[in-house]
């Protein structure tokens, strides 16, 4: 088995929302945080992060602000909005239900059918 997993369609948005919900972060920070939490098991194309960020911001789930990075450089920080918080909750619930169902199906043994 390969150690890195490709990201499932549509899950990047959810991961970004979750990461940002832990505190304001700039784009590169979000990338690092996802890799750190997932222990490098998720592969994210670096460039693909930004269109997703812009989309989320356009939809009003996150908002951005220019701030100063750890090494004293100007960087754009993203933060979760109230609407984003609700959205994250809804997405997470949906995801959990989905994984339960799928796990249930995959775990089915012949004698249970």
């Amino acid at each position: 088995m390969d150690k890195q997993l490709d990201l499932l369609q549509g899950t990047l948005d959810m991961l970004i929302l979750k990461t940002v919900s832990l505190g304001p972060l700039h784009g590169y920070g979000i990338l690092l945080r996802i890799q750190q939490i997932s222990k490098d098991r998720l592969e994210i194309q670096q460039g693909s992060l930004y269109p997703a960020l812009y989309r989320l911001e356009h939809q009003g789930w996150i908002t951005s602000e220019w701030g100063e990075s750890e090494n004293k450089r100007k960087a754009k920080y993203y933060r979760l909005t109230a609407a984003g918080k609700r959205r994250l909750q809804a997405e997470a619930e949906k995801w959990n239900r989905m994984t339960d169902v799928i796990a249930g199906i995959l775990g089915t043994k012949p004698e249970e059918v």
Binding site: H26, G27, Y28, L31, Q45, Q46, G47, S48, Y50, P51, Y54, R55, E57, H58, Q59, G60, S69, N71, R73, K74, A75, K76, A83
Partner: protein, 898 residues
């Protein structure tokens, strides 16, 4: 909340484009540099780190583009790009563009014009400032009817009421005006208090309003002209302001011109002059005591109609003598000014009928035009399949392509709308003239509202009819198309079926339109040729109106009638001369008459009866037979005993077949004079050619002495009627050089009768729409057949190569058109049958006229057959040229073609 943030983000991206770009740039650069720094910290060489950072980041431009897309920053860019591309495509196919734009212009123009007419007649409301605050004030008198108040009542109300901001009065007046000073024309006018226009809230278009001192006798020689009067009689010259014109033999200074329309109330009026109350009240009038004024008033802000009414009651109470009880009489009624609009009279209702029909017809024309354009776009979509395939292969999304094709078709529709507006602007006068008989005050003027409607119609139809072709065109099979195959098989077939549906649909619509037109046209012709009961041929008419200041003595009036009759009879070519106060087709006055009936027959004692005053020779001049008794004679003059003649219907209705001769009639308001019935005259139509016959009474003109009457002059069959007509005015001049004679003919009277005047505009409008529909069907069938032949060139080539005769190929093409046409006609017949159920079959109101089916049933086979035959001919003719082209296809060329 969220839609707002989206709009804000979009606005930010669009309006502050450069800022968004630089921010995006900075952000991405920060990312790569931060990553590179991390790499350097991990021991990678600086340059190598930067290279890897760039590499792993992926295509920066693509990321940026996706970012812009995500924020909607590209919307406007894309639109501009699409527009530019669309314009280029349209310029590249000038033929296609021209035909499509013209087609659309016809459809949209028809609707813009009809909207303009409807708007001017019905939607615009009263052209006054805050019309909801305007009221009419009436009185109710002892007879229980509403009357216009007297000048005295006006002065009292003005003095005592507090509910009104302004109270104005108006009285009617006739004006005699001669452009060259000699021949006088009769212009209807209104005498108004100086605050009248202020009360309505109308500003003169040119010049100024009346001044308060101009209601004092001696200073009142000023007039304001209506817009129409200014246009027709003074050629719309602005220099008229400050000039003096001669009205009623007195010079009057023109001080202003009114705006185009004063609404339906004051439509016919041409002259507005100050009302001098003292002299108005004492003015000599035939029916004394009838000098009354119309009172209008403007409620103060915050005062309700109800409050004004209670106040009016109090004031009316003070009018009445303290002794008398509050009976039915002596009340003041305050009524909303717009009341009349809410209960439109027969003319308005009729106009509404007519305009509805025309509006539906205009809608049908638009649909036909749109169907045409949609089928052109479908055909063009197929031609462009390769372009579409290439773009799809290069990664263009379908949505993006649909958007682009829609932009292109919307551009076409807007061009059509633009051309339509220009054309409508040009045709303003013609259309106004064509519609003018339908409803008073209807006119067409291309203004902001017409513009907005045209724009809206263009946009809606562009979206509705551009969508299917756009969806159809972007449905591509990449593999097949890029290999260079023609879009035959499924795609081509689907598109052809759609095109046939569109052509069939437009033929069906054309059928409905033509059947409707046919039914109305046949009704019109039936009305025109309905039996009148008199012979209108070779009869001239000359109408005069006596100036109010002259011919006041009855003997003078009688002498004038006698002299004019004798003078006219002496004119070369004249056979006989009669007089009537209202000619056939002019209607008649009515009054309550007491009818003395045979004692055995129960009949109503009093009836509202129409009556006409005529001279002895009138009936013989019209070639109307006396059925019993005698006609009037010279001795039935002022000295002779009062007499009457009744028509056949009168005798039948009130005498139930008994002989009425020798019985008497009397006006209910002067029962002293009994008029003996001396004759029965054969029935003839007095108001409209198609009306039901009504009971009519005739009295000798010399006993009634009307203030306005006409000569009916029968010209000898062998004489030239035109010559007699041309010389008539000057021939009659010696009778009284100051009288104006309005010369016409009996045929003209019929032409101008209410029925035909009401019906003519809709015939004119519908015939032009029918014509437009036919032209559009020709264009549509020709276009679609041509394209279908071009598409099948190869198939036809194979058929010819296999030995098909030329005739068979022509037949092949014609058969397809024939099939589509027949299907369309069948649908159209059903549609017409369903729709004509809503056609009115009876007149509106008491006059018997209006737009309705007369003498034809709605299933009239002639109308259906003619419409179907016309459409069939047109469709076959339009596909003849492409069919012949198909027959000439050279198999060698056709097969090498692909």
């Amino acid at each position: 909340m969220r839609p707002w943030s989206r709009i804000r983000s979009w606005l930010g991206a669009t309006l502050r484009r450069s800022r968004m770009e630089s921010e995006m740039d900075a952000e991405l650069r920060f990312h790569m540099e931060a990553y590179a720094e991390d790499l350097v910290r991990g021991g990678v060489h600086r340059e190598e780190a930067m290279r890897r950072a760039r590499l792993e980041f992926g295509g920066i431009e693509r990321v940026k583009e996706e970012g812009r897309e995500a924020r909607g920053a590209n919307l406007i860019d894309n639109l501009v790009q699409d527009l530019r591309y669309g314009l280029r495509m349209l310029r590249k196919n000038p033929g296609f563009t021209a035909v499509t734009v013209l087609t659309l212009a016809l459809g949209i123009g028809a609707n813009a014009a009809i909207f303009g007419l409807v708007d001017s007649a019905f939607l615009r409301g009263l052209p006054f400032r805050e019309p909801e605050r305007l009221v009419h004030i009436w009185t109710i008198e002892d007879d229980g009817d509403m009357h216009t108040p007297t000048p005295t009542q006006y002065l009292k109300v003005r003095k005592e009421s507090e509910s009104f901001e302004q109270i104005a009065a108006a009285g009617w007046a006739d004006y005699f005006y001669g452009a060259d000073g000699s021949v006088l024309q009769n212009l209807p006018g209104l005498l108004v208090t100086p605050n009248w226009l202020r009360t309505l809230g109308v500003q003169p278009l040119l010049g100024r309003d009346f001044r308060d001192e101009e209601q004092i006798a001696g200073q009142d020689a000023v007039v304001i002209l209506s817009y129409d009067c200014w246009h027709i009689r003074f050629h719309a010259a602005p220099s008229i302001i400050g000039k003096k014109i001669i009205l009623n033999r007195r010079p009057a200074l023109v001080i202003g011109v009114l705006p185009r329309s004063l609404g339906p109330y004051y439509e016919e009026l041409e002259i507005f002059a100050p009302l001098v109350l003292d002299s108005y009240a004492s003015q000599a009038n035939v029916r004394a005591g009838k000098m009354r004024v119309q009172i209008i008033a403007r409620l103060k802000t915050g005062v309700t109609l109800q409050q004004a009414r209670s106040e009016a009651e109090v004031i009316a109470g003070r009018f009445r003598n303290p002794g008398t009880s509050a009976g039915r009489g002596g009340q003041l009624v305050v009524e909303d000014f717009a009341e009349m609009l809410r209960h439109p009279g027969p003319t308005m209702q009729n106009a509404r009928r007519g305009l509805w029909m025309t509006a539906i017809a205009a809608g049908a024309v638009l649909l036909i035009a749109c169907a045409n354009v949609a089928s052109f776009l479908l055909a063009r979509g197929l031609k462009r399949h390769r372009e579409v395939a290439v773009r799809a292969a290069l990664g263009c999304s379908r949505g993006r392509m649909v958007r682009q094709l829609l932009t292109e078709s919307t551009l076409l529709f807007f061009c059509g709308g633009g051309v339509a507006l220009v054309a409508t602007r040009w045709c303003e006068e013609i259309i106004t003239k064509a519609a003018s008989g339908m409803v008073p005050g209807v006119y067409l003027q291309v203004d902001g509202r017409v513009f907005a409607i045209s724009l809206g119609v263009s946009l809606l139809s562009a979206l509705a009819f551009g969508m299917i072709p756009a969806l159809q065109a972007t449905r591509v099979n990449l593999n097949e198309s890029l290999k260079g195959a023609a879009p035959n098989a499924a795609g081509g077939w689907r598109s052809r079926r759609l095109r046939n549906v569109l052509v069939g649909g437009q033929i069906a619509l054309g059928m409905v339109l033509l059947v409707g037109f046919g039914l109305l046209l046949r009704s019109f012709l039936r009305v025109e040729s309905s039996p009148l009961g008199y012979d209108p041929r070779d009869v001239l008419t000359a109408t005069t109106r006596l100036p109010p200041t002259r011919y006041t003595a009855p003997s003078d009036r009688a002498r004038l009638m006698h002299e004019a009759t004798e003078r006219a009879r002496l004119m070369p070519g004249v056979e006989s001369v009669g007089i009537a106060n209202s000619l056939p087709m002019e209607g008649a006055e009515s009054a309550r008459l007491r009818i003395e009936a045979p004692p055995t027959k129960a009949a109503p004692a009093e009836q509202e009866i129409y009556f006409v005053s005529v001279s002895p020779e009138y009936f013989s001049t019209l070639k109307v037979g006396i059925l019993a008794g005698r006609s009037f004679q010279e001795r039935d003059g002022q000295e002779g005993g009062p007499v009457a003649i009744v028509n056949q219907t009168f005798a039948k209705t009130y005498f139930l077949g008994a002989n009425p001769i020798g019985y008497h009639l009397a006006f209910a308001d002067s029962l002293i004079i009994h008029r003996e019935i001396v004759g029965i005259v054969s029935d003839f139509r007095q108001r409209n050619p198609e009306e039901d016959l009504r009971p009519l009474a005739y009295f000798p003109a010399t006993q009634m002495l009307p203030g306005r009457w006409s000569l009916a002059i029968r010209v000898r069959a062998e004489s030239d009627m035109g010559n007699v007509a041309a010389g008539l005015s000057s021939w009659l001049r010696p009778v009284d050089p100051q009288l104006y004679w309005d010369v016409g003919s009996m045929q003209q009277q019929i032409h101008d009768s209410e029925s035909l005047t009401l019906r003519r505009p809709i015939i004119t409008l519908l015939s032009s729409f029918g014509g437009l529909a036919l032209v559009l069907v020709v264009v549509g069938v020709f276009g679609v057949t041509s394209y279908s032949v071009a598409e099948r060139t190869r198939e036809i080539g194979i058929r010819v190569a296999l030995g098909a005769a030329r005739g068979e190929i022509t037949g092949l093409v014609l058969r397809e058109t024939l099939g589509v046409t027949l299907a369309g006609l069948a649908m159209g017949t059903l549609g017409a049958f369903a729709l004509t159920r809503f056609f009115p079959t009876g007149p509106i109101g008491w006059s018997g006229s209006g737009i309705y089916l007369y003498g034809v049933s709605r299933a009239d086979s002639v109308s259906y057959t003619c419409a179907a035959a016309l459409l069939m001919t047109v469709a076959i003719a339009a596909s003849w040229v492409p069919a012949r082209r198909a027959a000439r296809v050279d198999p060698m060329v056709a097969l090498r073609y692909e």
